[in-house]
């Protein structure tokens, strides 16, 4: 096949992005485990990973720009490089958010907690991790059928977000937890919601990569199509 070396460079770049994704996924796993088990030492071990992820993200951006400058990519190659940059950004942001959560867990070690709120946080963390992993899997296997389902799964995170915020805003008289922990919990809820969004966006980027269509456009067409059908 012509342009074998260019294809190899694209494959290598994609592989590097997936490797970064797996590392970020491992950080998320540690964050969830630390939250589930109250293992503040595990959370503390994650501190500082965001610097590494940002440096890796910058390297991937540079590699992508060099390929664009040298190879003048078009069509699917251009979409791939655009998607690689977009996915890399989502991975780096996810890594940073995971680190922020671990930072909050480590700093509130031993603080009194609201059990209901903590349970909501754990549930939300598991769901956000699963959405992120699925988004990365969709990107790896170009499995766009699952991208729309991922958007639906994100609705669950939005519900958990509302539930957790409600618990934060309306603490019970007994067992409301330490104020500092409640404040950190509000931030963690927000970070987890963002992590899930990043996972959904990685899936959406894959739809663009494969079809050239934005998932938002694809969804709108899909919805309008159903409306038109209903009107018939």
């Amino acid at each position: 096949m012509p342009r074998e070396s260019f294809q190899q460079e694209l494959d290598n770049l994609t592989g590097d992005v997936l490797n970064l994704g797996r590392e970020v996924g491992a950080s998320l796993e540690n964050m969830v485990r630390a939250m589930e088990t109250g293992d503040e030492e595990l959370a503390a071990r994650e501190l500082g990973v965001d610097v590494r992820y940002k440096a890796r993200g910058a390297e991937l951006d540079r590699d992508s720009m060099i390929l664009q400058a040298r190879q003048a990519p078009v069509a699917r190659d251009l979409r791939l490089l655009y998607t690689v940059q977009s996915v890399t950004n989502h991975l780096v942001r996810t890594g940073a958010l995971s680190e922020h959560i671990c930072h909050a867990l480590a700093e509130t070690a031993g603080a009194e907690r609201d059990e209901d709120l903590e349970a909501s946080l754990v549930e939300m963390a598991r769901t956000a991790r699963n959405i992120f992993n699925e988004g990365l899997d969709i990107f790896e296997h170009r499995d766009i059928d699952r991208a729309r389902d991922l958007q639906a799964k994100d609705d669950k995170v939005d519900l958990l977000y509302s539930e957790a915020m409600n618990l934060i805003a309306n603490p019970s008289d007994s067992g409301a937890g330490a104020p500092e922990w409640r404040m950190r919990a509000a931030l963690m809820v927000h970070y987890l919601e963002r992590i899930a969004d990043h996972g959904v966006d990685i899936g959406g980027s894959t739809v663009f990569l494969v079809t050239g269509q934005r998932i938002e456009d694809a969804m709108r067409q899909y919805l309008e199509r159903d409306i038109n059908r209903d009107g018939e």
Binding site: L78, I144, R148, Q213, D217, A218, Y222
Partner: protein
């Protein structure tokens, strides 16, 4: 999930049918949503060299005041096709064309249609610069004169050279031979010569393939200016050039060696170079062809 369920689901997700995504669409159909003025309308055009059919059944709407680029692998019929648009193809012994090419309200292949008049209305610039062995001035003035131009020739020469972005470089040596110019200047002189007879459409067959990057850039800049007044059709092997300068792109393709060339996909350039409909087009523009 069965294959048909999977296909329906894919279509629901993307809003695009598999047929359309895989390019089973009439390539000659004008790009959807385009309402530009028509420059030329080509319908079911086929070109022959004796008994050999080189191009088959091309239908294409060429928009006025736009640049249309024709790309495709060597031997797929691009140059043959473009030469059919001003009846230059039939100059080759045994060569002929079938189908219709409408310019304005005239079918240029209709009985009684004068090829000389057609070639004045549809000018052509070739791959290799081919100035006459005359002065720079006469290179531009000559064609207009023999076509009966009765106006101010000095003004015509200056205007044509300015439109071809050559005036500033040659205004002080108009009486010198056109052969004394560089390759890039000679090509722009040929463009000026074409413009002097005031055509409606300008055909360019790889006009910059023999030029250095700076001269190529000047030709490309010239084209961007020319389309304000003319309809431009260009054959190019330089994909980036097609992407840079054209508004519409047609991809010509041969399915099997010995088959005639076909217009495989025709769409807005933006579409062809970002998300073409057909796999073969994508393979070609990304350099995976062959």
């Amino acid at each position: 999930m069965t294959q048909s369920e999977r296909t329906r689901e894919e279509q629901r997700l993307t809003g695009v049918s598999r047929d359309r995504r895989e390019g089973r669409r009439d390539a000659g159909r004008p790009p959807a949503g385009d309402n530009g003025t028509l420059g030329m309308k080509i319908q079911d055009l086929s070109a022959f060299y004796g008994g050999f059919k080189a191009v088959t059944d091309v239908s294409m709407d060429i928009r006025a005041n736009k640049v249309t680029a024709l790309i495709g692998p060597s031997g797929c019929g691009k140059s043959t096709y473009i030469r059919c648009l001003n009846r230059m193809h039939e100059v080759i012994p045994g060569a002929r064309a079938e189908g219709s090419v409408t310019l304005g309200d005239q079918d240029i292949y209709a009985k009684g249609s004068d090829p000389v008049v057609i070639r004045r209305r549809v000018g052509m610039v070739f791959q290799k610069p081919n100035p006459f062995s005359k002065s720079i001035y006469e290179n531009v003035a000559w064609g207009a004169r023999i076509n009966g131009f009765r106006g101010d020739v000095d003004e015509l020469v200056e205007r044509s050279l300015r439109q071809a972005a050559l005036w500033d470089e040659v205004k002080d040596r108009l009486k010198e031979s056109g052969y004394g110019l560089s390759g890039g200047q000679q090509q722009r002189l040929c463009i000026a010569r074409t413009l002097a007879v005031e055509p409606e459409v300008i055909l360019m067959d790889e006009p910059a393939s023999a030029l250095d990057p700076v001269s190529t850039q000047k030709i490309e800049d010239t084209m961007a200016e020319l389309k304000k007044s003319y309809t431009v059709v260009i054959v190019t092997h330089n994909m980036q050039q097609a992407a840079r300068i054209s508004d519409y792109t047609g991809f010509f393709y041969i399915v099997n060696m010995g088959d005639p060339g076909r217009l495989w996909e025709f769409d807005e350039t933006e579409k062809i170079f970002s998300n073409p409909e057909r796999k073969e087009t994508e393979d070609y523009v990304t350099g995976r062809f062959g």
